[in-house]
């Protein structure tokens, strides 16, 4: 007997449950855009090479164009529509606005979702390909511009707004870190826990 090629699934997106029928061929990206009207997530290459479709799956950034919707059932999905706290922008969104971290804006939702995860990955002590010493006893690497560029390399920007994007990620990362004692409280709405002075280097 031929297997069924579609299913009724429930997706948990931005803390809301959506039940929908999907052809198994449907990617999470197409389900978001075409079936759920969550069009903030953008389709760029549709081949996992540009990062425009980046969303968070169980808190980790992923490209939704290579994620089958049926395989995303049971996982917590966060899209660009779900990163702000009500009317208050996420610190990464605010930093992109303040520092012009875009030109046309098409790659921006993916850039922002990716950057949110980059800051959390760095805070968790993850090394990168440009980290001098990956050994755990070497401690977390400072979040230099070189580290940000490497960690954000899965998000292409054809306008070439990279200089401002790096600055925006650095500022947002700094906002999550308790600053010098006399420089005021961390930015309101900051998430997660920082790792101390190691992000100050680029935030300064």
């Amino acid at each position: 007997m031929a297997p069924s090629t579609s299913s009724a699934i429930t997706l948990n997106i931005n803390n809301k449950k959506y039940t929908l029928p999907v052809d198994h061929r449907t990617t999470l990206l197409d389900a978001l855009r075409e079936q759920l009207d969550l069009t903030g997530t953008k389709k760029g290459c549709d081949q996992g090479q540009c990062g425009a479709c980046t969303v968070l799956v169980d808190g980790r950034r992923a490209v939704s164009c290579l994620q089958l919707a049926v395989a995303a059932e049971g996982r917590e999905i966060t899209t660009i529509e779900g990163v702000a706290d009500g009317e208050r922008l996420h610190p990464v969104q605010q930093a992109f606005l303040d520092l012009d971290g875009y030109q046309c804006g098409y790659c921006t939702p993916g850039q922002i979702c990716s950057a949110i995860a980059v800051i959390e990955e760095h805070a968790a002590g993850w090394p990168s390909a440009v980290t001098d010493d990956v050994r755990s006893e070497a401690g977390p690497p400072p979040l230099t511009a070189e580290e940000i560029r490497e960690r954000m390399s899965g998000n292409l920007c054809r306008c070439g707004a990279y200089v401002s994007i790096v600055q925006a990620v650095a500022r947002a990362a700094g906002a999550q870190v308790p600053a010098e004692p006399d420089s005021g409280p961390p930015r309101s709405g900051a998430q997660g826990s920082g790792t101390g002075s190691d992000t100050e280097e680029v935030a300064a």
């Binding site: 010493d133 490497e150 899965g154």
Partner: protein, 330 residues
């Protein structure tokens, strides 16, 4: 894309039974390569068996037994693991050198080993390809092959294996554990990939319908002084044009132990056994490193546009072993 059925497996034997040895069914891990190939029409499965929820997501380490990596561990989890970074730094570096943060979060260790070549002819249905359609020919040999194999290739296929992770695993004597309809089994990673010969479409020695369940690395103090270095055509997020995974133990001015593997030069990660034999017990010097690399690369048969790889690999070997010798002397 062709329509397909979808099942989610919850235990290992159940996953193998669901696949049922059906040659038109595929296991789905992170999907970062398989889904892309399905969109291109290169892979046309009639059913997918999702293995992401199998209880194979753990990394275990002990100084006596070494490292055991569950097959569904993501590349990110592997590279971030403290014991991996401490005892096998070349493995963490190799994983971090591959793909992007998004893809490493999705891709699994088992799937990484079984990813397909990125040869442009393989993924272009309008072109012949002996790997995709046996007997149709290999246009790369007369065509675009600047990033194709220089070692172990044949007149039937010159594609390379794209994994960075597998190069480090090969240098560090990894063993692949699998489950098949006949029960569990093991294969040294160096035996997983079949020689190209005249059957480039036959890629691995896994039994039909088998599922990789884990990769193990033996305890190896030499691995604590190890390194992965990758050369590519842009600074990040590109496949290698050449890479080296190496581990080195020196005593005074003598090489006591060495592990060496090359990436992006063959249809599989290339363990440089000839070079290892020459280096072991020999002097710690750039001349000795270069002589060993030359001996290994004597088997190279470059095509008109990839001869640079022979020089590149020689220089990479000398650079990486020199850096490791300096590190070992500290």
């Amino acid at each position: 894309m062709k329509e397909f059925g979808y099942d989610r497996a919850h235990d290992v034997q159940g996953a193998v039974a669901l696949l049922g040895g059906d040659p038109e069914a595929r296991f789905l891990g992170g999907g970062t390569n398989l889904v892309d190939l399905m969109k291109a029409g290169v892979e046309r499965p009639t059913r997918l068996v999702d293995v992401r929820e199998l209880p194979l997501g753990r990394i275990e380490f002990s100084p006596e037994d070494g490292l055991r990596i569950g097959a569904t561990v993501t590349n990110s989890e592997l590279a971030a693991h403290p014991e991996v970074r401490r005892h096998y730094p070349a493995l963490a570096q190799a994983v971090l050198a591959g793909a992007s943060g998004q893809l490493r979060n999705m891709a699994t260790v088992g799937g990484n080993l079984l990813q397909r070549t990125r040869c442009g002819y393989f993924t272009d249905l309008t072109k012949p390809c002996n790997k995709r359609t046996p007997g149709s020919g290999c246009p790369a040999i007369e065509g675009e092959h600047h990033n194709h194999a220089v070692l172990g290739a044949s007149e039937h296929c010159v594609a390379t294996h794209p994994s960075d992770m597998a190069v480090a695993l090969t240098a560090l004597d990894a063993v692949v554990a699998y489950e098949s309809a006949d029960g569990p089994g093991e294969l040294p990673l160096s035996d997983l990939y079949l020689p190209v010969g005249d059957t480039p479409h036959l890629e691995t020695a896994l039994p039909a319908g088998a599922l990789i369940t884990a990769v193990t690395l033996p305890a190896a103090p030499v691995a604590a002084t190890s390194r992965y270095r990758k050369v590519r055509e842009r600074a990040s997020y590109a496949f290698a044009i050449g890479s080296v995974a190496a581990a080195l133990d020196v005593q005074g001015d003598v090489v006591r132990d060495v592990r060496l593997a090359f990436g992006a030069v063959a249809s599989r990660p290339w363990r440089a056994t000839t070079a290892e034999r020459l280096l072991t017990g020999g002097p710690v010097s750039a001349e000795a490193f270069a002589a060993a690399a030359d001996a290994e690369l004597a088997a190279a048969r470059p095509l008109p546009h990839n001869g640079y790889k022979v020089t590149l690999m020689r220089n990479l070997v000398v650079a990486v072993l020199t850096e490791l010798a300096e590190e070992a002397a500290r």
